[in-house]
């Protein structure tokens, strides 16, 4: 064997190892969720078993997991809808209009996105309590704007800057109103960017934990908070918890694959394409 093939072999082995390390933990979650309780609790672990959906059925029957799912879905999609509309408006303004302080406003919006959530949660909790919105999905739809709105503004600003503005200018000359130009001409042009931004804001809302933990109690509990409620002093319901974990991951993984082209851009706030 010459050195070159040896090098290639080592290279392939390392690559394969990297991906085993990345993918092994999620697979353990999935396998545990389709094992029976005794199989899941056996040591050494059972590798060959008959898959069962028992844990999923039990989670639905014995815990309000369908409510958690529904809450997560309602909160994430409402928040995404609001964020996309308002974020596009503001992003359009920052990308297209020339005015004093545009740079500063952009930077201010970006810096809000960087804020640690723990800094805002104490006053937001007190405010929501006084508005009697605790344990109400509305409180999360509103508070998730704190991080998703700056994100969407920043992303949409970037997408608008990428499309040529000549078409919009000719529409304006033809007597189309500014809002009409924005809505009928600019928005369709940035549709792919809009979808990518929407998917990411949905994922951020879906994954959020701290705000949901503090602002909900029973009725409005979201999936991440719901799953952690299976950790009890008396022990952990591994069956429920792994089933719930897999359910939480399904939409995220589907969306991740759909939007992967724009994910790097989104995850670096547009610093990278």
């Amino acid at each position: 064997m010459n050195i070159r093939t040896l090098k290639t072999a080592i290279f392939i082995i390392i690559t394969v190892l990297i991906f085993i390390v990345i993918l092994f933990p999620p697979f353990i979650l999935f396998f545990t969720s389709i094992k029976t309780e005794s199989e899941a609790l056996s040591f050494p672990p059972v590798w060959i078993f008959i898959p069962t959906l028992e844990n999923y059925r039990e989670a639905i029957q014995k815990t309000p997991i369908e409510n958690y799912l529904l809450n997560s879905l309602i909160i994430a999609s409402s928040n995404t809808g609001i964020v996309l509309f308002l974020g596009s408006l503001a992003g359009y303004a920052l990308a297209r209009f020339k005015f004093k302080g545009a740079e500063n406003i952009s930077f201010w919006i970006l810096s809000i996105r960087m804020m640690p959530p723990v800094a805002a949660i104490i006053p937001l909790y007190i405010i929501m309590k006084n508005l009697r919105l605790l344990d109400n999905p509305l409180s999360l739809i509103i508070t998730y704007l704190t991080f998703n709105l700056p994100f969407a503004v920043w992303m949409m600003k970037g997408f608008f800057q990428e499309v040529p503005k000549e078409i919009e200018e000719s529409a304006l000359v033809d007597g189309c109103s500014t809002f009409g130009t924005f809505w009928k001409i600019a928005m369709p042009l940035v549709a792919p960017g809009l979808v990518a931004t929407g998917i990411l804001t949905f994922i951020f809302s879906w994954n959020e934990f701290l705000f949901a933990l503090i602002l909900t109690g029973s009725k409005a509990v979201t999936l991440p908070v719901g799953i952690t409620s299976y950790i009890k002093e008396t022990g952990i319901g591994w069956g429920y918890m792994t089933a719930g974990g897999v359910l939480a991951l399904i939409p995220v993984m589907v969306f991740t694959i759909l939007a992967q082209k724009h994910l790097v851009k989104g995850l670096t706030m547009g610093a990278l394409k």
């Binding site: 290279f11 390392i14 990297i18 390390v21 933990p25 999620p26 353990i28 979650l29 545990t32 040591f43 050494p44 672990p45 308002l86 408006l89 503001a90 297209r96 545009a102 406003i105 919006i109 810096s111 809000i112 960087m114 804020m115 640690p116 959530p117 723990v118 800094a119 805002a120 104490i122 006053p123 007190i126 405010i127 509103i142 508070t143 704190t146 709105l149 503004v153 924005f182 994954n207 934990f209 999936l223 991440p224 908070v225 952690t228 950790i231 952990i236 591994w238 792994t242 974990g245 939480a248 991951l249 995220v252 993984m253 992967q260 790097v264 995850l267 670096t268 547009g270 610093a271 990278l272």
Partner: protein
């Protein structure tokens, strides 16, 4: 006369409209952000000068800088959480960066179609629900039936009580964090590597540079801006770590994994000392802001900031 006046008003209004349209587009976002971010932050700053225990007293009591004085002078736990916070930062981000760079350099050499699949795999831990990441690792760390102890005993090592002992708890949480975020680093750096101009590499190869020389004198300098962005994002996120710690250790055993973020949460929502927790939360805010602004300054002075 009135007609003329009307026309003047119309002209005036249209000028206003054209000049300030941006304001109508931007106003909703600015008003919302002021009311759900700026106003709450001012509210909590004011609260941090008061004593207010939601359970015991109903009234706010003005105590001036007392909360901050207690934090800096008399609270031994604050110092311990500060130490854990920075240990956590130093134990995760540099390793994620080094490993991520190595992975990116390896993947950058793959030219076959499989790279698409590999890149998607890198995104998986990044967009995964952090609570679920915590659950997965709690499952793997389980001392009696976890995978990690199974592998340890398989190779003849004694099992470890991963998150159950103060000495191993923090490194265990860090390991989960490194698993979660190294692929993210690799993803960004890989995107950076693939966007580098090819001609300088070709010139270097023609000149007979070794692969180490190419890496040291061409790849690294060209990649610096992207490396800075990746580091900046991760350093700021590191201070926000909450979900992993909540699921894996709840800050324990003892205070061994209690970061500043988690300590603030406990003061506010377990002990209900809202004034004290507000003071702590403002310190978190100040620390994160100071660090990010200085990092952004470094980026800008090197004239490599974008957007």
């Amino acid at each position: 006369m009135t007609k003329n006046k009307n026309r003047k008003i119309i002209v005036f209004l249209s000028v206003i409209r054209r000049r300030y349209t941006w304001l109508f587009f931007l106003a909703p976002v600015i008003i919302i952000l002021i009311s759900i971010v700026i106003f709450p932050l001012i509210f909590s700053l004011s609260l941090s000068f008061h004593e207010w225990n939601v359970i015991r007293g109903k009234e706010w009591t003005w105590i001036g800088l007392e909360n901050y004085k207690t934090i800096f002078l008399y609270d031994p736990y604050f110092r311990s959480t500060l130490k854990v916070t920075f240990l956590y930062l130093l134990g995760t981000v540099p390793l994620q960066f080094a490993l991520g760079l190595a992975v990116a350099l390896i993947l950058n050499r793959i030219t076959t179609k499989i790279i698409g699949f590999l890149r998607t795999t890198l995104i998986v831990p990044t967009t995964m629900t952090p609570v679920v990441v915590g659950i997965i690792w709690r499952l793997m760390y389980n001392p009696d039936l976890g995978m990690l102890n199974y592998f340890l005993t398989l190779f003849g090592f004694p099992p470890i009580n991963w998150v159950g002992k103060p000495e191993t708890a923090l490194p265990s949480v860090m390991m989960a964090d490194i698993w979660e975020w190294t692929p993210f680093m690799a993803l960004i750096l890989l995107a950076g590597l693939q966007a580098l101009p090819q001609d300088s590499f070709e010139a270097a190869i023609v000149d007979g540079a070794s692969s180490w020389q190419i890496f040291r004198y061409i790849t690294l300098p060209l990649l610096t801006p992207i490396m800075m962005v990746a580091l900046l994002i991760r350093i700021m996120d590191s201070f926000k770590t909450f979900d992993l710690i909540f699921v894996l250790t709840q800050g324990g055993p003892g205070m061994s994994t209690e970061v500043l973020n988690y300590y603030t949460y406990r003061y506010g929502f377990k002990f209900f000392h809202m004034g004290y927790a507000s003071a702590l939360s403002w310190l978190v805010l100040v620390i994160v802001t100071v660090i990010s602004i200085s990092l952004i300054r470094v980026l800008q002075t090197k004239n490599i900031a974008k957007g």
